[in-house]
Amino acid sequence: MLKDITLGQFFPGNTFMHKLDPRVKLVVCFVFIIVLFITENLAAYALAALFIILGVKVSKTSPKMLLKSLKPIMFLVLFTSILNIFYIEGEVLVRFWILKVTKEGLMTAFYMTSRIIMLVCATSLLMYTTSPISLTDALEHLLAPLNKVKFPVHEFSMMMTIAMRFIPTLIEETDKIMAAQKARGADFESGNIFARAKALIPILVPLFVSSFRRADELATAMECRLYQGGEGRTRLNVLKLTKYDYVFMVFSAISFVLMILLNVVGI
């Protein structure tokens, strides 16, 4: 069951999308989301969808994986769209009992749904094509100006890197411990909510114990390699913008400007 979590899973590859500078991808993804939220126009959204489909095609990500990443937010999407459909005042289309469906409600629901779905698709695409390490690397670069206001950017991104690095390890560990306790007859699937919560103790205790042990070992290992924070630290892989990055930036910028224009013109 834990293996089904796909958010933040990196699929190695050698496509155009994989080769892009993580900083560029991160910024483009961020701008894309902003543009999604400031526009509310059918043609603009069609263009946004096209943008994502193109990304999926170019990065050779299987659409199935993308749909899988949408599964956990399906409830949220349904909930917001139902609320929007029934609670927004406007031109009434259908009325039954105390409920009424308005045209404005339907439209808002549609925009909200597309927005959330495209937002998740774009971030998933970013996650699938960028390794967590280069992602935090990009973040460190982009947040570097915050160093001026005494924000510990390097420490923050190191924490992120470690946290991300340990997600698969912890998932694997959890799977192992779960299997081991199942072999001792543990039952996680039946009983009421209290019984189920109690059934988690045999998993959580060993998981905590091993997390602390791992943290301790990692800290020692880092100290052995004379880690002492970001000051004066050089990098193995220096991020550098290439031709691909400029092509991608220009293409994205044109698409986003088009989306905003379409929204302003209001086709």
């Binding site: 199935k64 299997a179 001792r184 007859g185």
Partner: protein
């Protein structure tokens, strides 16, 4: 001695449909008899650990069937649960699954899950603790205060306390010092002699397999490469070396002698057997 565990054309694929798809077990047919002591050998990544998780229905085979006492164990949740108790599986590094406040409570976790009475649980915990050599004083300690070797024993006791018909141990000696290894091996051997439980030992040490088992199954690249008595297995040292495994040291000495033109039997894997061979050779030469 009847059949107790049977695998029919069992295959298992991890992550089917993702880019990480990997067949870990391929078309396995195996039958284990009651009271056997079987060693499953293979190098890292040969599918041993995946295979044993099919024995107690932790992993449902992608295709094929697993039977315990003639019954398909993957029919329903109830049969799967029954299989967990019929076939006790000790995982690799089992000490990492300890969680209770005291050693006693931790060993009691399995039997309690079986829904046994308090008296029966207590009897089983004490019997299991005795079998693995844990004394009464230790039973009241926290499992986190024990040494590595002792933790391992407690974890094994947690499975033995369920009194399974089949006891599967996945690399129970991994990461222990030579003394700890010998102690665990002797403990398993004694347990087998006393209770006649079917034991399946997963290992990559030929020495251990030769010393303990009356049958050896060699896994290579997700399939069974060889299956037979230790003598039969070690006679095929050419095949073993090719699949990245060693023969016991004493056998390799005899193989080297044979290569140099002396007439010895290379299927011998015990010191006694080798001594006999060498004495015979000496008799012939002098």
């Amino acid at each position: 001695m009847g059949e107790i565990l049977k695998l029919e054309n069992v295959s298992y694929t991890y992550g089917a449909g993702t880019p990480f798809e990997k067949t870990a077990v391929k078309d396995i047919n195996l039958t284990f008899n009651s009271g056997d002591f079987v060693a499953i050998i293979g190098h890292t990544g040969s599918g041993k650990s995946t295979l044993v998780q099919h024995f107690n229905a932790l992993l449902p085979p992608t295709s094929g069937t697993v039977y315990i006492n003639g019954e398909d164990i993957n029919q329903s949740a109830a049969t799967r649960r029954a299989a967990r108790f019929a076939c006790g599986l000790v995982f690799q590094y089992p000490e990492y699954q300890l969680f209770e406040e005291t050693v006693f409570l931790d060993i009691a976790y399995g039997p309690k899950n079986m829904g046994l009475s308090e008296i029966e649980v207590k009897r089983r915990v004490l019997a299991a603790a005795e079998a693995v050599g844990i004394d009464a004083l230790t039973l009241e300690k926290s499992p986190f205060d024990l040494s590595g070797g002792q933790k391992r024993r407690v974890a094994i006791a947690g499975i033995i306390a369920m009194e399974p018909e089949i006891l599967v141990l996945d690399e129970p000696m991994a990461g222990l010092d030579p003394k700890g290894r010998d102690e665990i091996l002797d403990m398993i051997k004694n347990y087998h002699d006393k209770h006649k439980t079917t034991i399946i030992l997963v290992t990559h040490s030929m020495e251990d397999a030769a010393r303990m088992a009356n049958r050896i199954v060699v896994m290579c690249d997700s399939s069974v490469l060889l299956d037979g008595t230790p003598g039969e297995i070690f006679a095929r040292h050419d095949l073993l070396t090719k699949s990245g495994l060693d023969v016991p040291q004493i056998t390799s000495v005899l193989i080297e002698l044979k290569n140099r033109g002396y007439d010895v039997d290379t299927s011998v894997y015990t010191i006694e057997g080798a001594k006999e061979q060498l004495m015979k050779l000496r008799g012939k030469l002098c």
